[in-house]
């Protein structure tokens, strides 16, 4: 029964994401961002006369990470605003009544929605991210050291955020859940930057802000890992000062323990969402 429900609902959720206006908004934003970045990279290339100088490489790496941050933001906004309506919206409108009166477990329905959103979010990151990397390759000839890891970490970040959105949407209204999820995402990013600056100035308690927020919501840690995978490793040795407290450069890759924690975090939050949704009166 669960084996039947999960894929059916997952397919439905992907279909919903594809047919809703959110997708068109996402596509437009992505195309605009990619076009801007293509123009930006061709300018960098023209200004510095190729990426031979260290400064040019540093600029390119910063801009690439900046654009990737834009993409991750679009992915975050998109999935958070899809995750909200898909549960809270269905409950509010009444669509959930007919579906949940079928011989299905609510947990299986929620798991199916989650899976559909994961497929959608990862698909978006893969397509948009790869396009971005190809644009950089075409304009500047730069190819990041570890593009697969970078994209995987970006996708993991999207999964973390949409799981949070799903939990929120089982308890609050669709719009509010999207806004709160994106707000928390932004707050964690800022806390991460603050922590980096604290670390750069050797201030332990400020540095701890970033560490703690990175544990509470693992989006920022994954994002820093993704940045690290996209930038030229030679830069780190030559410009180590520039990396200190820099919001769009990173000197760390996430440890296996941190990745494990991110996985546990997703499982925990998903479990909470299932419990909240199962106990709810419709």
């Amino acid at each position: 029964m669960t084996a039947r429900t999960v894929p059916t609902v997952a397919a439905l959720t992907v279909q919903e994401a594809a047919r809703r206006r959110v997708l068109r908004a996402l596509a437009v934003l992505t195309v605009v961002l990619l076009a801007l970045s293509a123009w930006g990279f061709s300018r960098i290339d023209a200004e510095f006369g190729g990426l031979t100088s260290g400064e040019a490489r540093l600029a390119a790496a910063t801009v690439l990470n900046l654009v990737m941050f834009g993409l991750s933001l679009i992915a975050a906004l998109g999935t958070a605003f899809l995750a909200g309506p898909t549960v809270a919206g269905d409950v509010e409108s009444g669509v959930a009544l007919a579906v949940l009166a079928r011989p299905v477990r609510r947990g299986a329905v929620l798991l199916g929605k989650w899976l559909g959103l994961v497929v959608f979010g990862c698909g978006f990151v893969a397509v948009a991210g790869l396009t971005q990397l190809l644009i950089v390759l075409a304009t500047t000839g730069y190819w990041p050291p570890d593009p697969l890891t970078g994209l995987a970490l970006l996708a993991a970040q999207a999964v973390v955020l949409l799981t949070l959105g799903l939990l929120l949407s089982t308890v609050i209204s669709p719009m509010a859940s999207g806004i709160v999820a994106v707000g928390l995402f932004g707050a964690t990013w800022i806390a991460g930057v603050v922590g980096e600056i604290g670390a750069a100035f050797g201030n332990e308690s400020v540095a701890r802000v970033g560490t703690v927020s990175r544990m509470l919501l693992p989006t920022d840690g994954l994002w820093r890992g993704a940045m690290n995978a996209f930038q030229d490793p030679a830069l780190l040795t030559r410009f180590s000062d520039a990396f200190r407290g820099h919001p769009f450069l990173s000197e760390v890759t996430p440890t296996p323990a941190y990745l494990g924690w991110a996985g546990v975090w997703v499982a925990l939050v998903l479990g909470l969402a299932v419990i909240a949704f199962t106990r709810r009166d419709l």
Binding site: L12, R19, A98, L100, R102, P103, V104, D281
Partner: protein
């Protein structure tokens, strides 16, 4: 969810009793904060039986229906659907439901909605049968259109199709005609009659009492969350009455009329509350009247309507069955 160990034992024992009713519920109770929505409601719907759930707004009808379908968790009470405890989702495998708030995925087409529900049920319903189902509710030519473009009434028709598509043995309809035009209401009545002919059990909650009266075998009346009355129409509406329009009624003829049951006279019109259910009573009476020289213009059955009875029960608050 609510069943303790003893409750589960009871549920299992009941489940083993053949033939299990389509719906069996006992001692349902639900509070929303301080407000009691349902209090100690018990009833059952037999296999193939059509039962009307009646009551004023806010009586708790929708809450009861949602508890039956596992959409709302009761504070107390037990539910068996088609012999299975309602906590088990499989209990709903052969149950169709039209919610009071009927909305379907607006980005899907009508046929895709049906396909989704068939798939969630785990049934195998071929394309042709889905088409038939849509045709039955008058949406045959809209199968490929997005539900988002449907009117309220069309969405309710689609909801009926959704309730019927997976070959249910029990259909629960919460105000199935609330958004329908008179033609649609007549369609729903025909639909209920065809379900009855196919021995599909139906629990229908409707404001259109006259329609309930026409199709239901039994009614359950709720008031302020409590069971106000329940029974067959015969039990609730009590004795049969007969109305006669007569000419040339002599004293002897009037005495003969009075002998058949409680007599009330309005000019030429005589109403008799028949004392017994004997089928020979009325023909015998007419034969005797003719023999006494009375001219008989009309003989018609009459009894109080369900509506009158319902109003009586709700106004006096008397929950008692009629003798």
């Amino acid at each position: 969810m609510t069943a303790g160990p003893s409750g589960e034992t009871a549920a299992r024992l009941l489940a083993e009793l053949p033939p299990s009713p389509a719906v069996w519920c006992s001692g349902l109770r639900k509070r929303y904060r301080r407000r009691t929505a349902v209090e100690d409601v018990s009833f059952s719907v037999g296999r193939g039986e059509v039962v009307g759930l009646l009551g004023p707004n806010g009586a708790g009808k929708t809450s009861v229906v949602k508890i039956l379908l596992g959409l709302v968790r009761p504070d107390a009470g037990e539910v068996l659907l088609l012999g299975r405890p309602a906590q088990d989702p499989r209990a709903r495998a052969r149950v169709g439901y039209l919610p009071e708030l009927f909305r379907y995925q607006p980005w899907l087409s009508a046929d895709e909605v049906l396909r989704l529900h068939v798939r969630l049920t785990g049934a195998a319903v071929p394309e042709g049968e889905r088409r038939e189902c849509l045709a039955l509710v008058g949406l045959a030519d809209r199968a490929g259109d997005r539900v988002g473009g449907f009117s309220k009434g069309m969405q309710q028709r689609l909801g009926l199709a959704v309730a019927l598509v997976a070959r249910p043995e029990l259909v629960v309809l919460d105000e199935p005609t609330s958004a329908l035009d008179p033609l649609g209401r007549a369609d729903v009545r025909d639909l209920l009659l065809s379900l009855k002919a196919r021995e599909v059990a139906v629990l229908v909650n409707s404001h259109l009492i006259s329609e309930v009266e026409r199709v239901c075998d039994r009614v359950v009346i709720l008031d302020k969350g409590r069971l106000a009355a329940s029974g067959t129409l015969q039990e609730l509406l009590g004795q049969q009455e007969v109305r006669l329009r007569l000419d040339g009624v002599t004293a002897r003829a009037e005495a003969r009329l009075a002998a058949a049951g409680g007599l009330t006279r309005e000019g030429n019109s005589f109403t008799i509350a028949l004392a017994d259910e004997d089928t020979a009573t009325v023909p015998d009476l007419v034969a005797d009247l003719v023999a006494l020289g009375v001219r008989v213009h009309a003989v018609e059955p009459a009894r109080i309507t369900l509506e009158e009875r319902l109003l009586g029960i709700l106004r006096t608050g008397s929950g008692g069955e009629r003798p």
